[in-house]
């Protein structure tokens, strides 16, 4: 039904939405969509872990740790993500040894998708460190003191008191950053990772439907972001503590 409609649209109006009726183009597009989603999910989780680790080390009182986290955060925040990605993929990736792929050939140790995930996680993680820090600083001092006086260790204090409160405070900023991360995944196109933009560009260079694919692409990304924003809002609502306004 849908396929027939878009085929007719192509014949009568010249609007070639090939992904809706051509099985090959559709599978390419969906594979691209899946790769993008996969990169997004893994990078989001990894960047959250990096953010947590970063604030933990920065707050641990060691001067060296603080300096290292600070260098990491400032460096990744103030340099272009595309150059970071090129740096990792070409420069660092070129230095790593290759491994045998089992078919007699040699393949790089970390694939393009792998480097994309590493670069985006580090990029978004640098922002997450700052976001978590702001959230943790917003937790009232008295709460921490009360917990300390009850004999909480630093780990317990973080896990049970500070983080649950700080997380709720910094959710809006985190939301923004994760949306930004989803938008940044398009850069993987530059190192040839077959994600959504790459798949779309392959389709439009073969089917000569740049205009149609471009619009499909734009709408797909806006939808992807909308899904993320919706999930985060649901989460924010579910985690709300009644009566506690940060």
């Amino acid at each position: 039904m849908i396929a027939a409609f878009f085929e007719r649209l192509n014949d009568t109006q010249g609007l070639n939405f090939s992904i809706f009726y051509d099985a090959f183009d559709r599978s390419r597009f969906l594979t691209g969509l899946w790769t993008t989603t996969y990169i997004c999910i893994v990078s989001i989780l990894a960047s959250l872990a990096i953010g947590l680790l970063g604030v933990w080390v920065a707050g641990s009182g060691s001067r060296l740790g603080r300096l290292l986290v600070r260098i990491y955060v400032q460096f990744f925040r103030n340099t272009p993500p595309l150059v970071q990605l090129s740096f990792f993929y070409f420069a660092v990736g070129g230095l790593l040894p290759t491994v045998s792929d089992g078919f007699g050939g040699q393949s790089p140790l970390v694939s393009g998708t792998g480097w994309a995930i590493i670069a985006f996680s580090l990029f978004a993680g640098a922002f997450n460190v700052e976001i978590f820090r702001a959230g943790i600083e917003a937790v009232p001092e008295t709460m921490v003191e009360a917990a300390e006086s009850l004999g909480y260790t630093r780990f317990q204090l973080w896990r049970q008191i500070v983080l649950p409160l700080a997380f709720r405070i910094c959710l809006p900023a985190l939301n923004n950053n994760l949306v930004n991360l989803v938008k940044t995944t398009t850069l993987a196109y530059a190192i040839g990772v077959p994600e959504l933009l790459y798949a779309a560009s392959q389709i439009w260079s073969e089917m000569f439907n740049v205009r149609e694919m471009m619009n499909v692409l734009l709408v797909t990304y806006v939808l992807l972001v909308a899904v993320l924003v919706w999930v985060m809002h649901r989460w924010e609502k579910a985690m709300r503590i009644p009566g506690y306004m940060p």
């Binding site: 460096f75 272009p80 595309l82 740096f87 471009m214 734009l218 909308a226």
Partner: protein, 283 residues
């Protein structure tokens, strides 16, 4: 009353106790350590490249010295693009931002929708959009306006900038307490007068830090134009690496470009934070 001449403690000028530094908030010492360690990393990568390179050919230092001016020129082109996109994006964005707070829904809704759409679309996709879908020239009667690739790139980068500026302007205007609007109304200011003479001058100050932040983001995003085939700093760096075909040079070469951007964007970020504190936008 002079406060310096009395012993009464009540009349002494009070001193605000400074907020104790927490983890990352920046003492000058850390800033110096930060810059020093980044420079050391770069020097180390250069030294390693110098050491492991073939002895018969030019050393890493000589090659880097030869290419650095060209890479720097490419970087300057990035900056030029960033200035022009920022100017265009700001001009359009301010109009949209004011449209977003307009009392007329016919103006407010489209401005809001356009802002949200362009804010949530990836920069690279918008850049592709502008590169492929804008015509290479426009005929207006006898006049033909040519659109070379770099002008299209400026427009493509200006789209998300405009959307973000629109949000900044809306946020700035919204942050002015409604009492200002009401008192202006009671003094018989028209809406236009209130906007231009009362609200915008106050909101302007609060818009500067996020605007500068956006500028830093844009500057970093200008490297995207290398993906659509315009010669910028990243393209030159890659070309240099291909021309020399020396794998050990990749690390210092890319680090050099990263350092150029860092040297430009880091001061902007520091200044933004300083202004934020001064204007008391956050907290």
């Amino acid at each position: 009353m002079k406060t310096g001449t009395t012993d009464l403690s009540v009349l002494k000028p009070f001193r605000v106790t400074p907020i104790p530094p927490s983890g990352l908030a920046a003492p000058v010492l850390l800033s110096a350590g930060l810059i020093a360690s980044i420079v050391v990393t770069f020097a180390a990568s250069l030294a390693v490249a110098q050491a492991i390179g073939p002895a018969a050919r030019d050393g890493a230092m000589a090659i880097l010295w030869r290419w650095a001016p060209l890479i720097f020129q490419g970087f300057l082109f990035n900056l030029l693009i960033s200035f022009l996109s920022m100017a265009l994006g700001t001009a359009v964005g301010v109009l949209f931002g004011i449209g977003q707070v307009s009392p007329s829904a016919a103006l407010r809704r489209p401005a809001w929708a356009a802002t949200q759409f362009f804010r949530n679309a990836p920069w690279l996709v918008l850049l592709f959009y502008a590169m492929f879908l804008l015509p290479f020239e426009i005929r207006l009667g006898p006049v033909t306006i040519a659109f070379p690739a770099w002008i299209k790139a400026i427009i493509g980068l200006a789209l998300p900038v405009a959307a973000n500026v629109s949000e900044i302007v809306r946020g700035g205007i919204r942050s002015i307490p409604s009492g200002q609007w009401e008192s202006a109304e009671s003094l018989a200011f028209t809406r236009r007068q209130t906007m231009w003479m009362i609200i915008l001058p106050q909101a302007f100050k609060r818009m500067i830090p996020p605007w500068m932040n956006l500028y830093a983001i844009l500057t970093m995003a200008t490297t995207l134009i290398s993906v659509v085939g315009i010669q910028d700093g990243l393209t030159v760096t890659r070309a240099a690496l291909v021309a020399e075909s020396r794998p050990e040079l990749m690390l210092p070469m890319y680090l050099l470009l990263l350092l150029m951007f860092f040297a430009y964007c880091y001061p902007i970020a520091r200044l933004t934070i300083a202004l934020e504190r001064r204007f008391n936008v956050k907290g």
